[in-house]
Symmetry: C2
DNA sequence: CAGGTATATGACCTAAGCGGTATATACCTG
DNA sequence: CAGGTATATACCGCTTAGGTCATATACCTG
């Protein structure tokens, strides 16, 4: 997995990161809150750890994971040159997110021009 | 390709987007500037277009592509909860990016160093 | 030490995605 | 209309990543 972008392409990994954003958690906490099988959690955590997104603290048998911000800052940095497109479209984002929210997978064939 | 994150996981697609960030371009312009085969460019542009990252304007035989910001805003929005981690680590980003620079990447594109 | 809990790893399978080549379509110019 | 340029698509083979199941390792407690 080359870059930070490849790492966060995985929905479960994003879910783990979002969960850890609020506070650090043990593997089993992640497992239960996200309702995913434990080997899968461990595997994703390994990927995240090796890519520098998280780090683990040992607490008895538990490993408590927490965010490390650098790789996400890299994403943020890549995004910077596009910021100038934001301002005319601040409202458009909400419409976009709305559309994303309800239609689980709206496939569009035809493109429209304006 | 489920989400916007999956789309930008591809390095060539990120390169195309970064190129379009400065100004709109035709397919052949992208092809030459990024030195990638034309079918590959068209294929990536299709993915980007169907995901809403770009749109095309027809100009004779050319298709001129330009950025549409919504999906990138979605990424930005997802990133927001992690911003609170930034401030103590502003300097750490540079060290991180330096390390990234020397990792083995067979491909080198026109990367700009901060 | 035994037994239990927490986490990591390995093997296997499947599917998706990318690169490459060849070809099709669209449009322009003379 | 012919020939040329610009772009899109179809097909194929390969690699890789993710899910699942089984098992291994680590640590705690009685």
């Amino acid at each position: 997995m080359e870059s930070a972008f490849g790492i966060i392409a995985e929905p479960n990994r994003r879910a783990i990161l979002s969960l850890l954003a609020s506070s650090e958690r043990s593997v089993s906490e992640i497992e239960h809150q996200l309702r995913m099988p434990q080997p899968s959690v461990s595997k994703h955590l390994r990927v995240l750890r090796e890519a520098g997104f998280v780090e683990a603290r040992v607490d008895a048998q538990r490993r408590v994971y927490r965010i490390r911000p650098e790789p996400l800052m890299e994403v943020e940095a890549w995004l910077a040159p596009f910021r100038c497109f934001w301002s005319p479209h601040v409202d458009a984002l909400e419409r976009h997110l709305d559309r994303m929210g309800q239609t689980s997978h709206g496939k569009k064939k035809k493109e429209k021009k304006r």
